[in-house]
Subunit: 897 residues, 2 copies
């Protein structure tokens, strides 16, 4: 026989699954001896039984009756007694707090008779009738399902009739009239009288809490947040205390430290002669907490004592709700309080210094997401700044610059010392140089997973996207607002990548001291307490983590920054970026090559350029591994757009112009290479096997670069990574050729550089056949972007636009699987691959180089899955270091901000 009801004195915070967060903490405070109004909690298990059977279990009714009797005995009052009624509140509260659930009904126990007893006992008619008014309204709305507006309208009418806007101006007679009016509303909407039986009131309220578990909104929220549908909610029943019994009563909230800065002390607000709901409703202005000392020093001192007790007990910042009833202090709620990112770091290290928690615990109290937030620059005051539009904050930070509309201009202006913002309708890989040069990126199309957003986040560069109100005309070099404002090239804009707001003109920006610290521009000792806190905790993370952290970098600048940020090598050096810009012509030559000789010539022309690239990167990463991925994207990405070219030729033909034979040949080639679904077409190793010599020239360039550095006495550590492998046979063939070339270069140069040969695991089949693939691979690196694309059958380019928003709204996703790895599906492929790859080859090195490598919750997953390293964009390296440390302590991600 399960126990369905716990007295507050029987529970505690460890019973959170059974009593819910609210109930467990009330119980905890009760056992601590703090002044909590007596009460009891109905368990989540009772709720689950009710939801399963659609009936209130008989045992529950019995247990509630017993606990209610004890409560009545303890309080010396009976629920709904006509002379001296006990009143209770009924609150929902699951283990995980959840909007959409029925929240609270206060003042249960009042009816047409007991309202008079309450008036007599409290000595205040007005208070009693106001309390009754509140009950009928709350009960009607949340338990009986009456539209809340009906009550609000009636209430407003009464105030209007009285010629006032202030509730306090209403007198007892007004309130009696309102109660009658509210009861009529209930009868009209439900066809029944407002229930006069106090026990029935309580029973219905409890049942309403249970039922609210399965409202559409609650279900949607659970679907979105991946909360199991079968947890159920607990119900707290608590004897009422009143903050609205006069000016010696009141209600407030407080924190044991400043949740904004982390500064020690007590912070909070207090409202005299009010109930909690009035604070939320903002009816009157609250007072700062310390003012309480002026008119009720005893309660104030007691509260400070309790705050100290609670912080010592919970060993963390606590947030507290309390009520003072005629000079007597009551605790109504407490929990570990939310805080800003900066406060989280400060508080964690303060608590270490105070000897309250260990450094391990301190590390568990901060998150990578908080660290990331601290790394973005911010705008100072924006009160004066004119807003051009508000769109999607796609990559946080604050950026100011002159508007440019293309990459070349961005690069040129940047070189002459200008700060620029790159403005495009949408971006593509061609815009990369401009994105690197720009302080920020603004697009009029695409959402949070558009190219601009993803690349900007990867670079740690501010980006606002999907500003659909803006009309971007790249040819005219103008940007037109919906109000007709025209911004021309060179005009200054300021964009806030967190809020998505775009300001006209310049707004002052504050750089992040945390970034200055990581960049080595600021010694920890010279920084403020925040910088010192970050330094302490990330150093501790480095000491405890098992995962190595590498960076994804394609050029020497990124490589150097990655080193400064603590990267232990490069986990992904994409070679396709090296094929853009001026070299695009060489790729065109390769694709259009007529015969083996022309193809060989085109490859020969690429060799020295690739070698230069590799020399620079290997030099920047001297002594650390550099994983070079052979060419991955579809060839047509390096060619002109098929549709544009087709239109160009068709228009030329239609208007009688001659089409250049070379243009026509290009169109033919592009058409030949055009694919219906390039993302799952001729890419990666497939291209390497179809174009003989393509991969070979890359391997040769890398081997020669390494040999050259070895000649200089350096310690290059190249690794060759084959992309898009789906079958071991593909890898076998590339491996044979790679080994042949490495041997040739070693023989030619006399420098034998040990070079690992491994593969991306980014195709579901590769993960599923990892046992055989490991036989030809020295390492695996998970490409979780593609693995997510293929595993879900999603084209990221398309789905974000066409249905991701709808899916997030419907709760099909809680979070985009491109942001945090989907553990049950895609993550399972990772686990299978790790397990079977290692079984076949125990010394297999395993990492991840998808964007998930820098995502906090994904880092924990990769730690648990047993990977050796994560690799992420340079800017995310500190985040990954921190989270890898936290993961090693065996805690899941929690964010208290």
């Amino acid at each position: 026989m399960p126990k369905y009801v716990y007295d507050f004195a029987e529970g505690g915070k460890d019973l959170v699954d059974l009593l819910g967060g609210k109930g467990a903490n009330l119980a905890e405070m009760t056992t601590l001896g703090l002044p909590v109004p007596p009460g009891f909690v109905i368990t989540t298990e009772a709720c689950r039984t009710y939801l399963r059977t659609r009936e209130v279990p008989a045992e529950l009714t019995d247990e509630v009756e017993q606990h209610l009797r004890s409560l009545e005995t303890a309080m010396g009052r009976r629920l709904g007694d006509a002379d001296d009624p006990l009143l209770v509140s009924v609150r929902s509260g699951g283990a995980i707090s959840m909007p959409g659930m029925m929240d609270t009904v206060l003042n249960i126990g009042l009816n047409d008779a007991s309202v008079l007893g309450l008036a007599a006992q409290s000595g205040s008619d007005r208070f009693a009738w106001d309390s009754y008014r509140r009950l009928v309204q709350m009960f009607g709305k949340t338990v009986l399902g009456v539209d809340g507006e009906a009550f609000d309208d009636a209430f407003d009418e009464a105030k209007q009739a009285k010629g006032t806007k202030d509730d306090l101006e209403l007198d007892t007679d007004d309130l009696k009239g309102i109660v009658t009016r509210f009861q009529t509303i209930v009868q009209k909407h439900t066809g029944e009288q407002f229930p006069q039986d106090p026990r029935l009131q309580m029973e219905l309220a409890v049942q309403a809490v249970f039922d609210s578990w399965n409202t559409k909104r609650a279900k949607l929220y659970r679907r979105q947040e991946r909360i199991p549908h079968d947890l159920g909610t607990a119900v707290s029943v608590c004897s009422m205390v009143f903050g609205n019994l006069g000016m010696d009563s009141g209600t407030g909230v407080c924190f044991t430290r400043d949740p904004g800065s982390g500064a020690q002390g007590s912070y909070g607000d207090y409202l005299q002669n009010a109930q909690g709901e009035d604070v939320v409703a903002g009816i009157r202005n609250t007072l700062p907490l310390h003012r309480l000392e002026e008119f009720d020093k005893a309660s104030y001192d007691e509260l400070l004592d309790i705050m100290a007790t609670l912080e010592a007990h919970y060993r963390d910042l606590c947030d507290i709700e309390f009520t003072i009833e005629r000079g007597k202090l009551w605790m109504l709620q407490t929990r570990v309080g939310k805080r800003t990112a900066g406060a989280a770091f400060r508080i964690a290290t303060q608590l270490v210094d105070e000897g309250v928690i260990s450094e391990d615990e301190a590390l568990q109290r901060v998150t990578g997401a908080q660290l990331a937030r601290l790394m973005f620059p911010r705008f100072g005051s924006t009160d004066e700044a004119p807003v051009l539009t508000t769109a999607m904050g796609a990559s946080p930070g604050a950026a100011v610059g002159k508007v440019v509309f293309d990459s070349d201009t961005a690069v040129q202006w940047k070189e002459r010392g200008e700060q620029v913002l790159l403005v495009r309708r949408e971006t593509n890989p061609d815009d990369l140089s401009g994105m690197i040069a720009a302080a920020g990126i603004l697009t009029s199309r695409g959402g949070k997973t558009s190219h601009a957003a993803v690349v900007a986040r990867g670079m740690g560069k501010t980006c606002v996207c999907g500003a659909e109100e803006l009309d971007v005309d790249v040819h005219a070099r103008t940007l037109t607002g919906s109000d007709g404002t025209v911004i021309t090239e060179g005009d200054v804009l300021s964009i806030d990548g967190t809020s998505g707001v775009v300001y006209r003109g310049e707004v002052a920006v504050t750089p992040s001291p945390v970034v200055q610290y990581f960049e080595g521009e600021l010694e920890p000792a010279d920084g403020d307490d925040l910088v010192q806190a970050v330094h302490r905790l990330i150093s501790h993370a480095d000491g405890v983590r098992r995962l190595d952290v590498r960076a994804n970098a394609d050029n020497p600048e990124d490589s150097e920054r990655a080193r400064r940020f603590g990267a232990q090598g490069i986990g992904l050096c994409r070679t396709e970026h090296m094929f853009l810009g001026d070299r695009r012509q060489l790729v065109e030559d390769l694709v259009l090559a007529d015969g083996e000789q022309e193809q060989a010539d085109a490859l020969d022309a690429l060799l020295p350029l690739q070698r230069e690239d590799f020399v620079a990167i290997l030099r920047a990463m001297d002594g650390l591994p550099v994983t070079v991925r052979l060419l991955d994207p579809p060839l047509h990405e390096f060619l002109p757009d098929f549709v544009e070219l087709q239109v160009e030729v068709a228009v030329a033909e239609a208007t009688g112009q001659e089409v250049e034979p070379k243009r026509q040949a290009l169109l033919d080639a592009v058409r030949r290479l055009h694919e219906s679904n390039p993302m799952i077409g001729l890419r990666g190793v497939r291209l390497g096997l179809v174009i003989p010599g393509l991969f070979g020239v890359q391997v040769r360039a890398l081997a020669e670069a390494a040999a050259q550095l070895r000649d200089e006495g350096l310690d290059p550590r190249p690794e060759v990574m084959v992309p898009l492998v789906s079958a071991v046979q593909e890898l076998e063939i590339v491996r044979e050729e790679t080994e042949r070339i490495l041997a040739e270069v070693a023989a030619d140069t006399g420098q034998e550089v040990a070079t690992l040969i491994g593969t991306m695991i980014e195709i579901p089949r590769a993960a599923l056949t990892s046992g055989s693939i490991a036989e030809s691979a020295d390492f695996f690196s998970f490409g979780t972007n593609d693995l997510t694309q293929m595993g879900y059958g999603f084209s990221r380019d398309d789905v974000e636009v066409s249905f991701f928003a709808r899916y997030l709204e419907l709760g099909v996703f809680g979070v985009s699987p491109f942001e945090s790895i989907d553990e049950s599906g895609i993550g399972r492929l990772v686990r299978i691959s790790v397990e079977e790859g290692r079984a076949a080859r125990p010394d297999l090195k395993i990492g991840v180089c998808g964007e998930h490598g820098g995502d906090p919750s994904s880092v924990h997953f990769f730690h648990d899955a047993g990977l050796d390293y994560v690799s992420c964009s340079p800017f995310r390296v500190p985040v990954a270091r921190l989270e890898a440390g936290r993961a090693a302590l065996g805690r899941s991600v929690t964010d208290t901000s």
Copy 2:
């Protein structure tokens, strides 16, 4: 200590893994007491050891020496003895026969001295020197790696010098000269003398066999055929017998039954005064076997006895190689013989009637692939027919018809009673009606997995594709051959879907009696022995199989044919085909709908049409399940081509023509819906969740159709299938709406029709999360086409063109994974899904409806994986029934044809 060498008398056919096929069967014949020249076999294990250690194991050398001594004792001759030499042959032979391996060296033991002894013993100088000539040539080429053409050229020169083309015209002196010449060639190419030591000859030959396991060609073949690289080959060493000792000697091959027709008797060829290699080289014409009786009745009678013995022993058709040396018969090889598809069925049932094998065994002796071959019509004689071109036989059969270039014409001409061939550059879903109307399809583009090929195979319709020499001009309605021949609409062509040959004019076609039998046009008793054999074996298969067989059918005609062919329901009714043709406009209206009302109107217009479709299909399948898949493909498939529309508008603008606003709106809509990768974009359930009401109208139409038939007293069994599910949340949402609509229709019509709601499993993530998906699904149906696309990260439309040919050539694939399911990767997803789906819901019904459902080896896999049914195109239903029966008997697929 392993035993590396087996005497023929020690082995037997069960040791095939150790002795290879050839060696095991020689041993088997030896233990049967048949006249096999004495010899021994070096095991595959010896080969494996050699390949691992790169050294001939000392124990092997010892064992070979011992066995050779025994052989010398038994034969009374010594290897290479100058007076009376023993000669041996050395042959490779693995468990699986493999081209690219070194084959045979005959006459080992001859040298400059022993050739004289052989001459003396045989009494024929010419024979001895010819034998020596053969040794130097074969040994030089296969063991020493000398280019074979050097010997051929020298041999031709000698014949030219003699003024003859016939080997037999060369006399002893000529042959002596040739031997000297060949030895010079060996010395020149290898830098060493031709080895005179007979034991060294043997040693080198054995080593050469071992080494040939790892030639490039052998490795490629193994990669293509998925043969493990570590099996190794056995080596048979057999004392030589000679068929070239005069006209009382000879060599031949024979079969115990006619491998073409299956008729009982003995069939074969014989060549007097020849060695086996001469038969293969086709130097002289062979005689039919029965002529042997005329000049060597004793040997002929003995051979007939042996043939009877072998067939009784192997219990199947045997194929035999033999040699007669001066009137003495020797058996050199036997194995179970290959046969045609018709012979396979006939022989299997004959052997049952003869009491040799059981019906179960008979079923194991035939395959679905053989049955499929018997179901295609064939051309009679084509000797007289002029060939237009030869392209790719993409779907077998023989079709004759008047050429048409579009679907409308195909349908019209068909309706007026013409046989037509649909000729297109390539086909797409729009051509479906034309493909259905046509007798055959001919395209100038695309390979064996192009749309035309795949759809035609699905329909069992003859198709030749990729006829690149032909210039198809759809507008001019002409087809131009590479020689300038112009075929105009209405001209007759004949196409052979097996050979890929296209004939001008009409070639007579013979219909398949097997199809006539399945169609019910031919009673088994009225058919020939082939029809009776097919009837017996497929009936037996139906009796033993566990898998149900359903059909994929989208219209009443296909449904009816499927029933006649034995389908037990419809496993896949695609609703997208119902949205084509005249109804395309309705889809356009839906997509272009402005606001909810227009969208609702568009859906309302679709409802009655969909209902009609379902009424017809449910009626045709009365009493059997009909699984209706909700709309699957991307919407833009129903809209005009984006590029064409874009070009049209651009050209209009450039030439100053006005663009109709409607046309412009259409372009805008098509652009909005255009996706970079539509195959992994907005499709299936994603579309259903994005366009509210789309799936609902389909469900309503199905429910109303079922209710209507129930009113008529029929027994409709509809099932609703949701496509492209990747997360259980998607299914939950659709299921809720579906259940609501089913309840509404039941309430409205008073007919409650039990309707299962299930899902396709065609996304890797769906397979990997089957445990949770099963909680919302009554059934799973694997869409193995998409599962293969996503699991491999392949777009079928693209990869077949861009790299499948190269992959098959490189051995990355043995067979296209779209043809037979890839068991290790994609199949693993199927197994995971079945196991975890059933664990969550034991009564889950599971089937497959991808094309693999009709593929023989895949059917076995699905049986093993525990599916309940396979569903395939109507034409493949008999194949699936047969293979499902064979699978139930627990044998893997083997094809003896």
